[in-house]
Symmetry: C2
Subunit: 679 residues, 2 copies
């Protein structure tokens, strides 16, 4: 047995003997323990804080004396005085191992720490970002051994951090010499690990130890909304989130109308590209302001988007995506400088990563959902529906994964709805309709009170009631169906048919009145027959896509359903089933995953290995093209009914007792043609 002291690290359990006097950081590196350090053990970055444990540890077979570590030293004292060191904490690079000891590495001192997702715990992220900080001491120039400052910096990185070849663009080179001299040959560099075989690139350089952190943007670039999460690249924490409307909406609300705009207007794709890039610059500025950081500290951005947005972001004409065979200009992941996309607000040398596309209609957003939800690792058959202007649908399990997209349009996002609005304070987001009285009660974003509860009026005094958002309209339609205000063909009954004065005439059809403040000059919020029609089209497209994948996999039911999307977390799963958005499944097996595409972007931002993983996974996904599949049309027509007409829904029937299917008779069916004549 060695006479050298035994050191045991927790929580990893790694252990070994090291010579007495070995610094804890050195021991950690020798034993492969994940202990962070930016300054490389110079006692200035404090990232290597550890906590020694004393006393008897029968489990480990060791007793730790009070003097197992060297005494508190001057470096630690100075650090404690300047910044404060929590009780019991030591700096790993200063404390030396003198006798057997048990040392705990707290989570914040781990490089590859786990980031636990609050919303849904399916997948934790292990921090291993593409861009990291390195503190180095660079040799001073010697005119008798002339080498460039870059070459000496590169050698220092290699010797002190085992980093391979590095490159630098001219704009970085411009900073190099003054910063090296200002830092007295001690600098911190942000190094971007090359994707595939490329050399690492110096993104930025600061004199001395840079303590301002590094940030990345995970961006979900949707047809209607752009959502960004500003993420601390050391901790994985989301420090600010922001979103705005995609300004391309003025060129067309849905993807195909934007493709048409590019086809009909020479240079139209350039206009749209310029618009979205400007919006991204605005968004970057706003989110950096929110977090009170210098936007130049944003050194990476990861994008997930559908194929049309993918092309318009990259400056590619989307015209080929508007016609068979829907050829993408490129399907693989893209690594490129942010400046090539005119993203000039973030660091001028920031790097962009765009996830790979799956097919001409199934984009990087679907790839991001696959990265986040991992259907290919599922034991049971899972259907994942990412609801947006275009729905991405994945179906699969360990045996294989299918993917398609379906053009749902913007109705689920509150657009094309008479009282619709985006999810913002004042929007009705939840609604219940009493099946007996047919009276509604609702909740608006910004308050947790229902509209019939005491204090509601006061709670909403500042926001008012302004409209109905995507999740609200889904609940409204489903509640109307459950309350017998709507038959299964989607027809809103008259006051006579429904027995409530809230069924009001609206042209030659009827509408359901939810809220009326028009007497006081306020809004009058209704669900019109047109709204029902828009929701029916959207949900039929969604359902038909899911059914098409089920056909391709030759199954009639799925084990579980995951609802994702920017507002996926807000959709009531029961109401989605009543509406017939998704195939029948046990209600407790229908879950919300929140913005899974955005989560996929965050994973790719925080972990470079995840990029290689999704690139591999995407190549294995089987793509199904809805646009040319005749069965898609059949499913689409059949899915028009609420919930749907041809498929049984035994699981839904267990939890919901739906009223008679039609106003006309005790169950007689109406064709679409007859319905339209009546309208």
């Amino acid at each position: 047995m060695s006479s050298d002291p035994l050191v045991i690290f927790t929580p990893s359990g790694k252990r070994g003997h090291v010579p007495a006097g070995t610094p804890v950081l050195t021991a950690a590196r020798q034993l492969g323990v994940d202990l962070d350090s930016v300054c490389g053990g110079r006692g200035i970055c404090s990232k290597c804080q550890i906590t020694p444990s004393f006393g008897s540890f029968p489990k480990h077979g060791v007793t730790v004396e009070q003097d197992a570590l060297s005494d508190w030293n001057a470096v630690e004292a100075r650090y404690d005085e300047k910044r404060g060191l929590a009780t019991g904490r030591r700096l790993g690079c200063q404390a030396k191992i003198m006798s057997d000891v048990v040392i705990d590495v707290p989570p914040e001192s781990q490089v590859h720490r786990q980031v636990v997702r609050k919303e849904a715990a399916q997948r934790d992220i292990t921090m291993d970002p593409a861009t990291r900080l390195y503190f180095v001491e660079v040799e001073e120039p010697d005119m008798h051994q002339p080498t460039g400052d870059l070459e000496r910096l590169s050698r220092a990185l290699s010797e002190q951090w085992q980093v391979g070849a590095v490159t630098a663009v001219p704009s970085l080179m411009t900073k190099l010499q003054p910063v090296l001299r200002k830092g007295k040959w001690q600098v911190t560099v942000a190094l971007h690990k090359g994707h595939r075989d490329a050399a690492a690139q110096i993104i930025d350089i600061w004199p001395g130890l840079h303590e301002g952190g590094l940030y990345g943007l995970a961006i979900d670039l949707g047809s209607t909304t752009i959502a960004a999460h500003l993420t601390d690249l050391a901790t994985g924490a989301v420090v600010a989130s922001s979103g705005l409307m995609n300004p391309q909406i003025r060129f067309g609300e849905d993807l195909m109308s934007r493709v048409s705009y590019a086809m009909m207007n020479p240079g139209g794709e350039v206009e749209m590209t310029t618009a979205v890039r400007e919006a991204l610059n605005d968004l970057t500025r706003a989110i950096a302001d929110d977090a009170a950081i210098d936007p130049a500290l944003i050194v990476e951005a990861v994008f997930v988007c559908n194929p049309v947005m993918h092309h318009l972001l990259l400056g590619l004409d989307p015209v080929e995506l508007g016609q068979a065979p829907f050829a993408l200009a490129t399907s693989e992941a893209m690594d490129l400088p942010a400046r090539d996309l005119d993203l000039t607000v973030m660091n001028p040398r920031a790097q962009v990563y765009v996830l790979p596309c799956i097919a001409g209609h199934v984009g990087a957003d679907a790839a991001a959902v696959a990265l986040s939800e991992e259907p290919g690792k599922s034991d049971d058959l899972v259907l994942i529906v990412d609801v947006g202007t275009n729905a991405e649908i994945l179906l699969g399990d360990k045996r294989g994964v299918l993917a398609c997209s379906s053009p749902t349009g913007p109705a689920f996002e509150g657009a094309q709805i008479s009282s619709g609005q985006r999810a913002a304070p004042g929007a009705i987001e939840r609604i219940e309709i009493d099946p007996i009285t047919k009276e509604p009660r609702f909740r608006v974003i910004g308050s947790s009170l229902w509209s019939n509860e005491d204090g509601f009026d006061a709670a909403i005094a500042t926001t008012g009631i302004t409209g109905i958002c995507g999740s609200g309209i889904i609940e409204a339609v489903a509640e109307m169906r459950m309350a017998g205000l709507l038959d299964d063909s989607g027809l809103i009954g008259s006051a006579e048919q429904t027995g409530t004065a809230r069924s009001i005439p609206e042209g030659r059809t009827h509408a359901y009145l939810i809220y009326d403040a028009s007497a006081e000059g306020g809004p009058r919020i209704t669900v019109t027959q047109g709204d029902i029609r828009a929701i029916q089209l959207a949900k039929s497209a969604l359902y038909a896509g899911a059914r098409l994948l089920m056909d391709n996999m030759d199954v009639d039911r799925v084990d579980r359903v995951v609802l994702a999307g920017a507002f996926g977390a807000h959709i009531s799963t029961k109401h989605a089933m009543v509406l017939g958005m998704i195939p029948d499944a046990p209600l407790d097996k229908v879950t919300s995953a929140g913005n899974a595409a955005g989560t996929g972007a965050r994973i790719a931002l925080c972990n470079i290995g995840a990029r290689a993983e999704i690139e591999r996974v995407v190549r294995q996904i089987t793509k199904v093209e809805t646009a040319i599949e005749p069965k898609f049309q059949d499913h689409f027509v059949a899915a028009n009914a609420i919930p749907h007409k041809t498929d049984p829904f035994p699981e839904l029937a267990k939890v919901v007792d739906l009223p008679k299917p039609s106003f006309n008779s005790g169950g007689e069916e109406m064709t679409g043609r007859r319905r339209r004549r009546r309208a």
Copy 2:
């Protein structure tokens, strides 16, 4: 012995048996014969033309029958009709080997053809440029197997040309889809082989077979002049050459005054960078116009320059180069997109290669001279002097190479000379002074007649006589010394001392009158005492640098001397020795290499392997810093005399009989101090 036909290729001598019916191109590839093809054997590019030889070849032990190759086919007939095929020529991809045959591959059908340098035959260039054309047929998109157009193009390059991974920037991606469709899935791509381990990059793409060629610029970016050679990247031919003055001259004539400008004026380095980049854009436009090519066909540029110009080109503040320890921002070769240097006239995706610098005072221009002249491969000790505003000096042989630079100033380029001008029609470039009569005769650029020959006046009628250029002033000073008009201290004698009325008073000193047309309102061309002083300073710096390297190598003489530089080819070696620009050496061992730096740039442009070679060579060169070496000052002062004072010059004495060293006495020396007092 095989019954398959034997094929013998000349001039390579490669031979082998191939099955009857094998196309010549296929056989060439199998046998490793260098036979070009852009279209990959589709009978459209005609690059694979070969000439079969018939009859008996005892040397090869083979008899070739008239039907050794398959009959002339329809593809060849169509090509011959459209473009013409020289008699005896066949298309290697069409002609099939039927029986034993001897096939000659003409130089123009070789990919790696040799480019023979006309000026000086030291080094031939083997064509292997970084950027080459590839014609490919790309698979059409299939929506059931969706992949991006880029990925299918990449696969075609891999399958048809064994090219590895390729990348494309967004601006290329924008062209990709329309060009593929316009070319009906047949396209030509210009592919830039990645330096080091980088992936190849698609620089441009054309529908069908691109026959417009590819070009590169070899640019010698000097302090005073910028010279560019437009080079055909397939043949290595220089199709146009052009030059202009470096516009940075307005910020300072020599390097150190530009460094001072950057130090004294905040943002001054940005101004200078902008000026030189704009000039490079102008030069690119002009040279493309000269050659009547689209500037977008210029896909590469190689730069050689001194360290200060290197930094100013790259947008780096040269301030560190103005003070010890003369630290370069980077010393290694640079590969970067032309757009990063705002070089926007050439192809928007053109790539720039900047040769490595040797030290803070010894730049990429010296590296280029080393690449061109290869001192490290020389058996005898060679001194290479690249004359410019800053002289680069290399000394070495197979045992090792030393390098330094010396601040000669612009006098050798005709600047700071009273009647000086740059080498242009009308400038005196050669001069002889009769040692008896002291009368001059001269030649001007634009005519091969001497001024005392019949028809001279008519020959120069259009240009006139406008001034004296760099090579002219060197000859003038040396001739004045040989004719006894000048003593060894550099003092111009009075008419009394020299016995000629051409020694005219000029203030308190004298000048030598070469040409006087002032009576007709024309110029009056003289060599003044100030001109002599400027040339003495320049040549002393040059000589001192060479001596310093000799000291460092512990030698007293060199075996041979190579004069290089933009005007190196025009310097008379004898006059250079009389002047004392270079150490004593046998006159037949002093040669001119022309613009060796520019040649080095052309080599690096035409052969990617040469880039790796010079990067390796530069790391092995020993750098000597003149600015801090006290001996440099000693040599500089001692070198003031014409030719020089302390070193013997037995070789020069063999060919030139110099007059008495001083006007004062029969050989008494004057110190610089006494001389200045007299002046």
